[in-house]
């Protein structure tokens, strides 16, 4: 393709408008008061005891979740990398399932299990283990930890798996061969080799955890930065605290990103892997039963939120009993008749379709520029188009709200444009990455050969480029679409009027209603989970092991 500057300018203005400008605006608002530079806003924000507590709580939450996901994810990665057992491929896919729904949707289910008169308490009372119900959720903090852990450990699993995959098993054997014991081998060889990947996974999980908005809202837990930011929206135009908080998160994010990137670049080792002919270690007898038991237990526990969500959505009566006593399908019928639900579904479909189209178009074009053009400042476009993977939705949403309120795009009036912009920005990297990597594999001479035989740009695109990149774009598009469909932070923040609610905000609203609301919310959640699950499954089929690339920094 010849350089087409019209599209190039379009790409640059998209990145500027959707990313650079709002982020700069946040930074500006956190440091400038009445046009003068000042640290006061930051200082006043941090001096506030309640906010300080929230920041500390958020850090605590992030660190705990990193630890809990490590405890589950790392051993899992080793089991899948080092042992051979029946059904391994299938189980590997099942372990990605917990990622398919936003934890906040699962929160409705978990509350049913852990609440004062929930299933767990009733089970324990019936078994005679306790007399009076225990408040498991307490302030809500524990519930958030549990849900985030169950949602995020697959990320750890994927990342560590990829690390283990990047070096040959012979580096371990070489150590044993020289007389080393397993602990020598682990601490001197394996641990240093997976450390960069572990660090990167931990950063992502940490940032994800402290910026998660939906889960704390469902548990009505307010002492976290994300909720404070959400609450600061109301007086966004008069109180700069929100900007300062968003800036703090942004600062941590960028810091972790730079540190990880430098660290990984310096320490990234790959030995390349000769294909393993056969993984020898095959547990037999008792050991294999134990293995399956442990794997299925983890899987079951991590799917409890999803299972209860499903049970909740079909239960007519579920009070003071371990499992629902009567079942009904009426809530699924409600989904298609309820006015708010119908609005939500059609809104979400519109938002997701349009944003996916934008992603496919821009993502392909950016990927093409990165792979084929030689221009100055390419690294800037590269960084900018990858940044959204990293920058939490809450920052983008808050930035949009601040930047565009009182303009023609004010989300108070009609958030359509901003929601689509935020959705497409957040999933853009998927398409960029997949296009870029498939184009790198396609030598430029293949295109040139087509031109030399007389084909024009369009024909070359159709016959040569498109067939190579289309599977990746297709899978990336499905992934973008399904994530957009269930997107939380931007949806909660940017959709202010009911008329424009997308699915997740509808679920959130319904979950808060006392009567039949939660059941319908669950039914909607199950439907969403189903769609995401199927699209993730299709993408996994197409990308196979490379799916992990979408959840990694650098």
């Amino acid at each position: 393709m010849k350089k087409n500057y019209f599209f190039f300018i379009l790409v640059v203005s998209f990145l500027f408008f959707s990313l650079v400008y709002p982020i700069s605006y946040i930074i500006f608002q956190s440091f400038f008061h009445n046009g003068r530079f000042t640290f006061d806003i930051l200082k006043i924000t941090i001096d506030n005891y309640v906010i300080r507590k929230s920041i500390l709580n958020s850090f605590l939450l992030g660190i705990i979740v990193v630890i809990t996901t490590s405890i589950i994810g790392i051993p899992l990665a080793f089991i899948f990398d080092r042992l051979n057992f029946r059904g391994k491929t299938f189980l590997r896919i099942l372990f990605l399932l917990p990622m398919i729904s936003s934890p906040f949707v699962g929160g409705i289910g978990i509350k049913q299990i852990l609440s004062r008169f929930g299933s767990l308490n009733i089970l324990l009372i019936k078994l005679g283990i306790i007399k009076n119900p225990i408040s498991f959720i307490g302030s809500g903090f524990l519930g958030i930890v549990i849900l985030q852990t169950l949602h995020l450990y697959p990320l750890m699993f994927l990342n560590i798996s990829a690390c283990l995959n990047s070096f040959d098993i012979s580096v371990e054997e070489a150590s044993y061969n020289l007389g080393a014991k397993w602990y020598h081998t682990f601490f001197k060889i394996i641990f240093p080799l997976i450390l960069p990947g572990y660090f990167s996974a931990s950063s992502i999980i940490f940032i994800w955890s402290i910026t998660d908005l939906g889960t704390p809202l469902i548990f009505e837990y307010n002492d976290l930065i994300s909720v404070r930011i959400f609450n600061a929206i109301k007086d966004i135009n008069t109180n700069p605290t929100g900007y300062a908080l968003v800036f703090i998160i942004l600062f941590i994010t960028i810091l972790l990103f730079i540190f990880t990137k430098k660290y990984i670049e310096k320490k990234q080792y790959t030995t390349g892997r000769t294909p393993v002919l056969f993984i020898e270690k095959k547990p037999t007898g008792f050991k294999s039963y134990l293995l399956y038991f442990i794997l299925l237990l983890i899987l079951f526990v991590s799917l409890i939120p999803h299972i209860t969500l499903f049970l909740y959505s079909i239960s007519k009566k579920w009070f003071f009993s371990i499992l629902p006593e009567e079942f009904t399908t009426e809530y699924y019928k409600t989904v298609f008749t309820h006015r708010l639900v119908k609005t939500g579904i059609s809104n979400s479909l519109i938002y997701s379709c349009l944003s996916t189209l934008i992603d496919i178009f821009l993502g392909f074009y950016i990927g093409y520029i990165l792979a084929r053009w030689k221009i100055k400042g390419k690294t800037i476009i590269d960084t900018l188009s990858m940044l959204p993977l990293l920058i939490p939705g809450i920052i983008i949403a808050f930035g949009y709200l601040g930047t565009f309120s009182n303009t023609i795009l004010d989300p108070m009036k009609n958030p359509l444009f901003l929601i689509i912009l935020s959705y497409s920005l957040r999933r853009l990297p998927y398409i960029v990455r997949t296009t870029y990597s498939s184009l790198l594999q396609l030598d430029k001479s293949l295109e040139e050969a087509s031109y030399s035989l007389g084909a024009d740009t369009l024909t070359t695109f159709k016959k040569i480029l498109f067939p190579v990149v289309s599977p990746g774009i297709f899978a990336g598009g499905i992934l973008s679409f399904s994530f957009a469909l269930m997107e939380v932070s931007c949806s909660l923040i940017l959709a202010i009027r009911e008329k424009f609610y997308p699915i997740s905000k509808v679920i959130y609203t319904l979950a808060g209603r006392v009567t039949d609301g939660p059941n319908t919310a669950c039914a909607l959640g199950v439907i969403g989970m189903f769609i995401t699950g199927i699209s993730l499954f299709i993408s996994i089929k197409i990308f196979s092991k490379k799916i992990g690339d979408f959840f990694r920094i650098g």
């Binding site: 012979s170 044993y176 020289l178 007389g179 000769t274």
Partner: protein
Amino acid sequence: MMEKEILRVENIYKKFDEKEVLKNISFIVYENDFFFILGPSGCGKTTLLRIIAGFTFPDRGRIILNKRDITNVPPNKREIGFVFQNYALWPHMKVKDNIAYGLKIKKYSEDSIKKKVEEILNITKLKGIENLYPNQISGGQQQRVALARSLIVNPLILLLDEPLSNIDAKLREELRNELKRIYKETGKTMIYVTHDQKEAMTLAKTIAVMKEKEIVQIGSPYEIYTYPKNLFVASFIGEINVLKGKIIERNRDIFKIETNEGIFFVQVGREMNSEDIFLCFRPESVIKEEKINIIKGKIKDYEFLGEFLKLVIFTEKGNLFKISIRAEEIENYKKGDNIVFSIKKEKLMLFEE
């Protein structure tokens, strides 16, 4: 001669899932041997080496090292060195730390580690790069670091898994000589796995030829080349011409063979179990026309190989043969010329189908 037995492999069987990969493998390696396991890829030779090292355990059979049964001993207690095909250098350690690793594990003192590392750097000619990381040195150097890392702990035997396969052809010859020198200087018993018959022929003292999970023949390179046990060995090691035939008469150790190129007389010192046989000869076994074992044909093509000239002969019956002749006779042979040659009866080989 090689006397003292150092490694004995007895009746090793191994299955992966349901697929048998090693079947009744037995051999003995004597001290100071350079023992080659040679076979096409997928014949199980690497698995065999890994069983000796203890990375994989056999289903049946025993491994005896220095009179000690090590069949079930874990790899870190075997005193067997292993040089991996991909070298398996630790990318996060400098060359010298890679090399010193085994000594540190064995808790040698700082001083003696330093001395030994110095010594091995000299032997493997790695001085000057000890402070670099593995990704900063060339493939050939990496290979020698892997060798040094294994040699420094002074293992009873050293196993090498296709150590030259990742090296480009130009360097390979140089490294082959280097390996030979190190073998001579250290006097270490080595077992070397390869699919490259040239490597085996130039380096080995003993070769064990493997085919599909079994060892077919063990012997010195000369024995294996001159007296191959079957057609597989004959064609795997060196070039061979093959002609289908039938035994029509036998007079003591002289066999009379009928082929579509005529009658041949072959001198073989063993029994043949079937009448249908393959008649084979090496390209260099041909002599000028004699009274028996004559083949007539046209020169279709030739390759000039320096000292020798290899002629491709096409016969009227449609057979193709390759024969080599001394290069100075190049004048006498032209493409399209008719040619007549014969093979001595003791240089012809017979193999059952």
